[in-house]
Structures are given as C-alpha cells and as structure tokens.
C-alpha cells in the first residue's frame, strides 16, 4: 500500500480531488489491491456513520431544565415580558404565518382529493383576520365552528375512512393550538402576537371545516 495514495482515499470518496489527482489515484487503485480494499472499507465507514441512530438519554432531563427555566422566569419576568412583546412584533408574526399553517398538510392533501371544492372555497374565503376585541370575534367564530361541526357530524359518513382520520388529526392539532393560545392570552391579554395567533388558528379551523363539508356535500 502506498501511503501517499492511502492518505488521499478519503478526499477521493468525498469528491475533493481535482481531475488530475483523481485520474492518478484511479490508476493506482487499478494496480494496488490493498488500497482498493481500504477504499471499500472507508466507504463502509461513511455509510455506517450516516446510518447511526439517535438515542434518548437514559434519564429524563426535563425536570432539571424545567426547574431552571422556572427560576429564570421568576427572576426576570417583568423584563422578559416587555422584551418579548416587542421581539414578537415582526419575527414572530412571520413565524406565526408558518406555525399557523396547522392545517396546511391536510389542506394540501384535501386539495388533491377535491380540487374543484377547494377552488370554490377559496373564492369564498374571508379576508385576513384583523385583531378586534377578542370577546367579540372569538364568540362569533366559536358559534360558526359549532355550526360547522354539527354539519360535519351529519356528513362524516359520506367521507372515506382515511379522509376522516386525516381531518380529525388536523382538527386535534388546531384545537390544541387554540387551547394553548387561550391559556397564553389569559396570562398576557394585550399580546398582539397571541391575539393574531388565536385568530388565525380559529380561522384555519373554520376553513378546514368548510372544505370538508363541501367535499362531503359533493359526494352526496
């Protein structure tokens, strides 16, 4: 085995040799069985590294983390609230636009199931929700959601099992986000980000329920 070439085998695997060096190494490999065998082993090492699995720690570390963040929250809470309220204004509203695509996966899936229905729904969809008095809009939206859920309960049997399962998963995710947002808002009612978060999440729920009901109606 030629040490000069052996030392370049990893670079060869990683595609880091120029064309001249690569051609010279390949010529050497054609005549050196040991380097050729080593090359195969190094490739296996790389494949093994890429196949390594992550493992959870043997002990639950959350308790220690929770204690620490509770201590910090108790110490700097006033500053934290002010600082975070400002920091949410732009970046977190952007994050919200991603976060609140909670039904995007299901929506896209449904789109493949019923393009026509979605096109109709898109034409009807409400303009972007504005932040208004929380009590007013959440009350109206809660009523709309209740009506749509009643209709869905009647229509659900028209949908296939896979569709019903996906819809329920989406609704569960949305409901969890709504519940979390309401809890957070109780602690910080004036937080613009949280108000928008709640409004968008509820709007998504209304949209999803409308789409599913339209789809079920189309199958009747």
């Amino acid at each position: 085995m030629n040490d000069i070439w052996n030392n370049r085998l990893s670079e060869y695997i990683d595609g880091e040799l120029d064309s001249t060096e690569r051609a010279a190494l390949e010529a050497h490999l054609a005549s050196c069985g040991e380097c050729y065998a080593t090359l195969g082993e190094l490739r296996q090492v790389l494949a093994r590294a890429q196949a390594l699995q992550d493992t959870v720690p043997a002990t639950d570390l959350w308790r220690g983390i929770a204690q620490q963040i509770r201590r910090e929250s108790a110490v700097d809470r006033p500053d934290r609230l002010v600082r975070r309220r400002f920091s949410f204004s732009v970046p977190q509203l952007l994050a919200a636009s991603i976060a609140l695509m909670l039904m995007s996966g299901g929506g896209a899936w449904l789109a493949l199931q019923s393009r026509q229905t979605i096109a109709d729904t898109r034409a009807e969809s409400a303009p972007r929700t504005r932040i208004t008095q929380a009590a007013t809009w959440t009350g109206r939206t809660d009523a709309a959601i209740a009506d749509l859920q009643t209709v869905l309960a009647q229509n659900e049997s028209r949908l296939d099992t896979a569709t019903v399962r996906i819809v329920r998963q989406n609704l569960a995710l949305i409901d969890r986000a709504i519940a979390d947002a309401r809890i957070a808002l109780q602690k910080d009612p004036g937080n613009a980000y949280l108000n928008l978060h709640l409004a968008e999440t509820m709007r998504r729920k209304v949209e999803l329920l409308r789409r599913v009901n339209d789809m079920a109606a189309a199958r009747s």
């Binding site: 082993e41 590294a49 493992t55 983390i65 509770r70 994050a95 896209a108 493949l112 949280l194």
Partner: protein
C-alpha cells in the same frame, strides 16, 4: 400527497406552532419541543464529548435555547437552529475545559488504541464505542462531517483549524473505525 409527507408536514407545523408558543413563554410548548428533539441533541453531545458529560451539556443546550428563543427568527427550522446551538455549546465546552488546539494534531496513542490490529471477537467493540474512543479532535471532525454533514470549511471555522487539518483528522478517524465495521 403521500401519507408520510403529509405526516412530516403536520409534524413540522406542530413544531412551528410550539416554537411560537414557547417563544411567548409557554413552558408546556417548550417541553414538547424538548421531547421531540432531545434524542438528537443528546446523541450529538454524547458523540462529541465524553458520555458522562452528555446529560449536563444537553440540559445546558435546552436552557440556552429557552433563553435565546426570542432571537429565533424562523428563517430555518427550529431543529436546525437548535442543532447549531448544540454544536456551539459543545465547542464552547471544549474550550472551557482546556482542550487545546494541540489535541487536534497527533494524539497517536489513543488512535492506535482504536485502530490497532484487526480486532478479535472477544476484543471487539461496538462502532459507537470505537467512535467514543477516538482522540477528541478526530472524533469531533468525524461526527461533524460524516454523521452531521458539515463541510470541512465549516468545521475548520468552528474548531479554529485549517481545512487541511480537518481532512487529515477525518481520514485518520475513518481508518481507525474501519476495524469495527462488523459490529
């Protein structure tokens, strides 16, 4: 949409929602993020440092993530952001415990210890164990390059060495580990 893609999308959306909630101070949302990501972070830390440090450093990573969540801009996935933070915490730890640049040059004895002669069954060790016994410099380069997918230029910047050193350490690590492929 294939079912797996749909489920991945739903998971990503759920993580994004939890990230936003955690950034608002919701510890329950942050705990869900912890549960989702702890295996990846802990494994990275364990491979980069000694196993007995992994728990403490993993906790430190998540506490720092909580402290820095307000700076998370959502430009990358939360998991990517957290992973980079974990690498930074590990490298800072490496400096703080006095692991000097010299450890990146020749540390032949432990490397020989890992590579040695071809192992017999009774002396053989698990691939992960062999990885843990590499000299720290070679181990960190191997983990960052072959396991985590960083490029030599990035690794060199992170570790404060030249790319050639990173390449050399990677080759030594691979040469040592090829003896433990059958386990």
């Amino acid at each position: 949409m294939p079912r797996q893609v749909l489920e991945d999308t739903l998971t990503a959306d759920s993580i994004a929602a939890d990230t936003a909630l955690a950034a608002s101070g919701d510890a329950s949302a942050f705990e869900r993020l912890y549960r989702t990501h702890v295996a990846r972070v802990h494994t990275l830390v364990r491979r980069m440092l000694d196993a007995d440090e992994a728990d403490d450093v993993t906790q430190d990573v998540f506490i720092r993530a909580w402290q820095k969540l307000s700076t998370f801009r959502g430009e990358s996935a939360f998991g990517t952001w957290l992973h980079r933070l974990a690498v930074n915490v590990v490298l800072a730890r490496r400096k703080s415990v006095g692991v000097e640049r010299g450890r990146f040059i020749a540390d032949d004895k432990p490397l020989d210890d890992v590579s040695g002669n071809r192992v017999t069954p009774e002396l053989s060790m698990d691939f992960e164990e062999a990885l843990a016994r590499l000299p720290e410099g070679a181990r960190q380069v191997f983990v960052l390059h072959d396991v985590e997918g960083y490029r030599h230029e990035e690794i060199a910047r992170m570790l404060g060495v030249v790319p050639g050193t990173s390449k050399s350490q990677l080759h030594h690590a691979r040469m040592a580990l090829r003896r433990h492929l059958d386990r």
